[in-house]
């Protein structure tokens, strides 16, 4: 699934418009977690992370895991310092009004999948 289509269909707010449009970014995997240690260890490269963790370290972890984007759920919005770092590192950030559960559910409906243990 195309990242820009995900953004449109989920009605996400784009926090990092400076980063090029995501027409060419394709996403097929997702990860949901608020524990940065877990994201670092388990998030799939090229995947999208759904979380309410808005701490600065989220960006470093996203870079390390090679994530395509981070979607903050429940309207949690990181502060400007975090946003700036994301722009610097090229990590696309989005905000959804819906909860983690609902965002994941809708991504799942579009075909994004998690790991199978």
């Amino acid at each position: 699934m195309n990242l820009s289509e995900i953004v449109t269909r989920l009605g996400l707010q784009t926090l990092t418009p400076e980063i090029q449009t995501s027409d060419s970014v394709s996403v097929s995997a997702g990860h949901a977690s608020d524990l940065l240690s877990d994201v670092l260890a388990n998030a799939p490269g090229g995947g999208v992370l759904v979380t309410i963790q808005v701490h600065l370290n989220v960006i470093a972890v996203a870079v390390h895991a090679g994530l395509a984007a981070v979607i903050f759920a429940s309207e949690r919005t990181p502060d400007e310092a975090v946003r700036q770092k994301a722009v610097e590192e090229g990590i696309r950030l989005y905000v959804s009004k819906e909860s983690t559960f609902d965002v994941v559910g809708r991504l799942y409906q579009m075909g994004i999948r998690g790991h199978r243990a």
Binding site: A32, V50, S99, T100, F101, G105
Partner: protein
């Protein structure tokens, strides 16, 4: 939806108080790993789904009257967590897949008629 039905639909299994699962009605699902948020979202018809599996969870479930917690990645929790859950009457469910996949499957169990999330 009845918890027992939910569990079987997502391919999970029940570790504690399985007999209660048929009586528990789940109307809301909260997925996350932040204690403060879990406290706020908790209710007696909430299913908590989390990456965590530590032994604080049964206490929190009992304090907030949360009937069931779904753990993920197929990892069976430590014996202390199991014991505490038994003692406090909390139903522990294990899903074989990760949180993302578990929530996806749970989401599909509910049709559009009501909101699973608080």
């Amino acid at each position: 939806m009845k918890l027992s039905e939910l569990v079987s639909k997502i391919g999970g299994r029940i570790l504690t108080h399985a007999n209660k699962a048929t009586e528990v009605d789940i109307q809301r699902i909260y997925a996350g790993d932040t204690i403060s948020e879990i406290l706020n979202a908790a209710s007696n018809t909430t299913l908590l789904v989390t990456n965590m599996s530590h032994n604080l969870l049964p206490r929190i479930a009992q304090l907030m009257d949360v009937p069931a917690i779904c753990l993920v990645n197929g990892a069976v929790p430590g014996s202390d967590t199991l014991t505490l859950a038994e003692q406090r009457g909390t139903i522990l469910v294990i899903s074989p897949v990760d949180l993302f996949e578990t929530c996806g499957r749970l989401y599909l169990c509910f049709d559009g008629s009501f909101k699973p999330s608080p």
